[in-house]
Amino acid sequence: MNDTPAQLTTGGRFLVEPVGCENVLTRECFSEEHREIEGMVRDFASERVYPLRDEIEKFDKDLCVKLLREMAELGLLGIDIPEAYGGLELDKVTSAIVVESLARGYSASFTVIFSVQTGIGSLPIVWFGTPEQKEKYLPRLVSAEWISAYSLTEASSGSDALAAKTRADLSEDGKSYILNGEKMFTTNGGWADVYTIFAQVDGRHFSAFIVERDSAGLEVGPEEKKMGVKGSSTTPITLTDVRVPAENLLYEIGKGATIAFNALNLGRFKLAAADLGGSKTVLEEAVKYARDRRQFGQAIAAFDVIKGKIADMTVRIYTADSMIYRTIGLIQEATDRLDKDDPLYYIHMGEATEEYAIEASMAKVYGSETLGMVTDHGIQILGGYGFIEEFPMARPYRDTRIDRIWEGSNEINRQIITGYMIKKALLEELPIRTAIRDIDAFLESDVEQAFSGAQANEECAIETGKRLALHVFHAALNEFGQDLRHEQQLTEILADMFTYLYVADSTLSRVQCLQGDAPVDKMAATIARIHSAEVSIRLLNLALTGLHAIFHGKLPPDTADHLRRFQRRMLPETDIIQLKRALADYVYSRNGYPF
């Protein structure tokens, strides 16, 4: 471990660096202002959004626009918008805190409307717009005088977004582009005043345009009848000979992919933050219900399996929180290094964000699957009432289902995770080769000497887990080379191993930063123990499946022997069940998520 090169600044480095080797951003080190903004938005969410959540769900444009305007007054629509155009241009941490806190208002519909307005609906103009475009649109968007939307998807191109068929052709006088085609699933589509629409110039150069609602030939189709987020507008947009002034081309011809992927990269961690906020409120509702509901003469909260579920939800949320804010911290740090006055500032910001594409995709996958898991447990805790609309679980359960599909489906994001790892390994951006070479020495080293401190066991398990993942990764690359990309089930296994390790590493790093021995800090350490133990077992499982795929069902003897040596260091010496009881009791005593 000692020969790990210091000061890597590349994404994915958690895999080759020891736990706690860098300062990670955690909720505990938010600044005073971050906390105050969080408090303000949480008050807004619980006093303005939560009581109106049923009204919002009935599909009420006026109400939603009114709420957006109230948020605009507070400055909440301008976090990522430059001051010159009416925004505040604060850090990414603030924008994540805002969306997380808003999501605690329990209206996924409204969170989505807000996220499009402040995210994909306006950021392409912030990043790539000309001064004239910014001047014209941003002040209207930051005040919610206008509503914005983003149309990338088409009927025949979803995940494969660059294959869009919508065309843009320069008019004969050269003054405008003529757009033809049909876009699908545009959030805010029915309510928007301005759209960012992607089209192929001359049928082959993928590009983006700013298109106003009242353009002749732009037709908003009927509202989709959706499974969830029913309070938000989702429509097709049909374009028939729509004349868009040439100056409304965004950035350059053929740069549509850059615009689209930048928007997605930033959208991913914000979606994760929104899912995190939603998860915390769902847990709170589940705890409240479990303590009130009595069966067999006692509150169901007291049943051991209910405690197990509450503990699982809490562990999942705490670990998601740890990895999501760490990721945002990394992206913020990379952005802070840039020169704000550089005319290419936003282009560089896109590159800095892409550096952490692995972590951002992990946050999207882990965050959305956290809310999926938490709402599913929530329904189960409410029993039959979980299935009934008047009770607080059915809606979030339906609402969150889309989170695993949009912003790049979780399948696509898992491909991104492993795909970037392959690239970073082959280009030697990460010292994977050295790390693999050192595995044997690591496995022979003296554990007690290598790991000390309160989390020695957990650190040992996770550090061994990293080597195990590298071992499987190495074997997969040896067997399949570049073609590993096409072995999607295997790359998913690798993506999951990497993700669990990043989450565990982030959680342990966070717990190590906690100084005090207050009950809340002790419980955080308990979470780290539960999580490390469970992750170790899962990693061993995934490695077994992966290696059997690589070796076509028959492990070579030295691989089998290796596995046993990994296993020795990863088998947890922890009574997970007992720890979960203690954790659940603590969550009960605090009436909800206490961290």
């Binding site: 005073e32 105050e36 903004i37 400055g75 005593s589 009436n591």
Partner: protein, 257 residues
């Protein structure tokens, strides 16, 4: 015009309260704190007066308590108060409104305030006395249960609640101390600009012991959760007498009829 507003930090209603081992406090580790509800209306009323009267008006937010109340005062600054004074409660006076009023009177006696606004009562102790006591100590006119204000230059017209759903308009001279009823206005949220700007505003810190050396009139002896007891009452007499007595109990005793 200069307005002082009392801002008290109280336990959040949602927080679980556990009596601490010494039996005189509650366990603070489990509790989150927030601004007292009616105090939020008091600061909003001050801000609205300032909105009407203009920038000449100065708002001072004032609090007594341990270090953690800094957060509550910063919130007041973020909402638009101009400066704040935080008094460290180094004598544990907070449970006695008379002592609290004396400390605040000592702070305010040289501040030449035209108005002192406080919340009607605190969510934790619910005494409802501090604003009136403070007004008396400072020789100000006082009013309580205030639900509207119209400040003039030498007097203030105000509406306050009487009993039984009645209310009354009256005019009292300035300076005055008003206790504000909840619902008088719609408290605003701090804006992000306000939060960032609060950093530059000043919070002066004083010690309660240096301000007042008198003896409190009330102290908290013991804190305990209301004890529930069960007992069965047998109703004696003939069935008619028993029925009549039962009806009486249902009507006046447990008030379900």
């Amino acid at each position: 015009m200069r307005i002082a507003v009392l801002q008290k930090q109280v336990p959040d209603r949602e927080s679980p309260l556990r009596v601490s081992d010494d039996g005189r406090h509650f366990d603070e580790q489990q509790v989150s704190f927030k601004l007292n509800e009616s105090d939020a209306y008091a600061i909003e009323e001050a801000l609205q007066i300032k909105d009407r009267l203009g920038a000449e008006t100065e708002i001072i937010a004032l609090g007594l308590g341990p270090e953690r109340i800094e957060k509550t005062l910063r919130e007041a600054l973020a909402r638009g108060a101009d400066r704040a004074i935080r008094v460290l409660d180094d004598r544990e006076l907070a449970t006695d409104p008379y002592a609290v009023a004396n400390v605040f009177a000592a702070v305010l006696k040289d501040q030449a305030c035209d108005l002192v606004l406080s919340g009607l009562q605190s969510d934790d102790l619910g005494m409802g006395q501090t604003g009136i006591l403070l007004g008396e100590l400072l020789g100000m006119a006082t009013a309580s249960l205030v639900i509207a204000t119209e400040p003039g230059t030498t007097s203030i017209r105000l509406k306050h609640e009487l009993e039984g759903g009645w209310y009354q308009w009256l005019t009292i001279p300035l300076p005055a101390s008003l206790s504000i009823q909840t619902g008088i206005n719609q408290p605003r949220y701090p804006t992000i600009k306000g939060i960032m700007g609060a950093k530059r505003k000043q919070i002066e810190v004083l010690n309660a012991s240096a301000l007042w050396s008198g003896e409190p009139l009330q102290t908290c002896q013991r804190l305990y959760v209301p004890q529930k007891t069960k007992h069965t009452e047998m109703i004696e007499g003939t069935s008619d007498q028993a029925a009549a007595q039962l009806v009486e109990i249902l009507k006046t005793g447990i008030k379900v009829l």
